[in-house]
Symmetry: C2
DNA sequence: CCAAAAGTGTTGCAATTACACCCATGC
DNA sequence: GCATGGGTGTAATTGCAACACTTTTGG
């Protein structure tokens, strides 16, 4: 077993792989049926829950770092992640790095940059939480899903980050390009409807909703229906890819 | 006069004041009458124009860094800057740091981080370009305003950054909170109208525009009018501050 | 055959658009 | 007095919200 000083140099060497003073914070929303949830971790020796965070490798794009961090926390691959804000406040920290390692009897070098000021780049994703079995990794005690409206208070400024991500998720719903990335390729209209209701946290008229989606030419109906469920089988839809290039379209006088 | 090695150590020491591998990029839009322009710099010994960029001090928030960079390029104080995106591509550089300093016979240390990979946090601002006399600073040959639709090709990925900023500026117009920061406190309706036309690059019906602004209760008319111009004197308006807290308001079914 | 979910159509209101006239000022 | 720009009103249209019935399926 290595000595403290040996471990210390390992930690220093480990940190040298990453861009200093930078992190990615992932706000992972989970959706199924009508429930919207949030993926949280509890670090070893910590008393509060926090977002999954990670650092950026020297030869890795920020987007790729977000993908890698999400994968290492959830096992999910090729999920669409959207960057939404960089948090650059002077006093902010996004992890209790020192306490985590010293609780494992690893002394943290005083100049280790995660113990100082960190700029975090926030990403959000929406996944089906039934398909993700969160498992705690090396530095976490626990990882689990919380209802978005029943989540605990989070560590550091993570409550603010979640609120920001939620606002962006909501506003992404009326941009077809973004909305298309939030569901699997094929989905039913009731599923899309429940997604909108859960994200916006309000009721939407089922019939008007379907009409709007079709009139705006955002989705197209496939010949198949979803079989297996009880009751009448709903049609399957997919987003019209050629319409997604339109991008921003704003109201004008 | 200091030797090369002396200068080198000065440069190294200078860089140590900043968070490594990070920069802020400012997209400064200028507006007056009906013209929308863009502030660009040309670095010494460079052939192409680029955005004003700068680094983040160790004990300075990212927002404060953006303010400082903008001030040092334009002399402007207390301008509202909005963060819009972090650019974290693997191969991106936001300045030709080495060439700039070596052209001044300052040798750049091989490990100087600006010569490697940089993550840029983008900010945009809108100012009255008649009130800003751009003056080149120490590292720039020239600084000037270009029409937004007649701008030259820019260095590095700055064209992409400008396009992104322009999209955000456009979409900020229908968020009252953001729109309020883009004009001086008191303005006339025709001024607000021309601003929207210039930013959106399309014609807006003068009468419908005014009606919407008033019906939505975004602005309030002041008793005074703008005097001095030719023709009928227009009223002055200001944004209703108490309405600005509303924030995001989206259409729902 | 009945409960529960999915599909479709109509109607009224509200918001946006298109459009025309009057007022003020400088030359 | 006339050209130019600024202020206001009205009709037509469009998009959205409210609402009820029919169809399918499993039990």
């Amino acid at each position: 077993m290595p000595s403290d000083s040996r471990r210390l140099s390992v930690l220093t060497k480990e940190l040298a792989q990453y861009l200093p003073h930078l992190s990615v914070d992932c706000v992972v929303f989970g959706f199924h049926n009508s429930d919207l949830k949030l993926l949280l971790l509890k670090w070893k020796n910590a008393s509060v829950w926090q977002l999954p965070v990670g650092y950026i490798r020297n030869r890795e794009s920020v987007d790729a770092a977000a993908q890698r961090v999400l994968r290492s926390r959830t096992g999910l691959r090729s999920v669409h992640l959207s960057q939404f804000h960089a948090f650059g406040g002077l006093k902010r920290k996004e992890s209790d790095f020192r306490r985590c390692f010293e609780s494992q009897h690893v002394e943290t070098p005083p100049d280790a940059w995660p113990t100082h000021r960190v700029v975090s780049i926030g990403y959000y994703a929406l996944v089906d939480f039934l398909e993700v079995r969160p498992r705690p990794d090396g530095i976490s005690d626990a990882a689990s899903w919380f209802p978005i409206n029943g989540r605990p208070r989070l560590a550091f400024d993570h409550d603010e980050i979640v609120q920001w991500a939620l606002d962006m998720l909501r506003s992404s719903l009326d941009s077809p390009k973004a909305a298309a990335t939030l569901l699997p390729e094929r989905f039913t209209m009731p599923e899309l409807h429940r997604l909108h209701e859960a994200v916006l946290d309000c009721r939407l008229d089922r019939r008007n909703f379907q009409k709007r989606m079709l009139e705006r030419d955002l989705v197209e109906r496939l010949p198949e229906r979803r079989i297996g469920g009880a009751h009448r089988a709903p049609y399957l839809y997919r987003f019209k890819t050629h319409r997604l290039d339109a991008g921003f379209q704003r109201r004008r006088a």
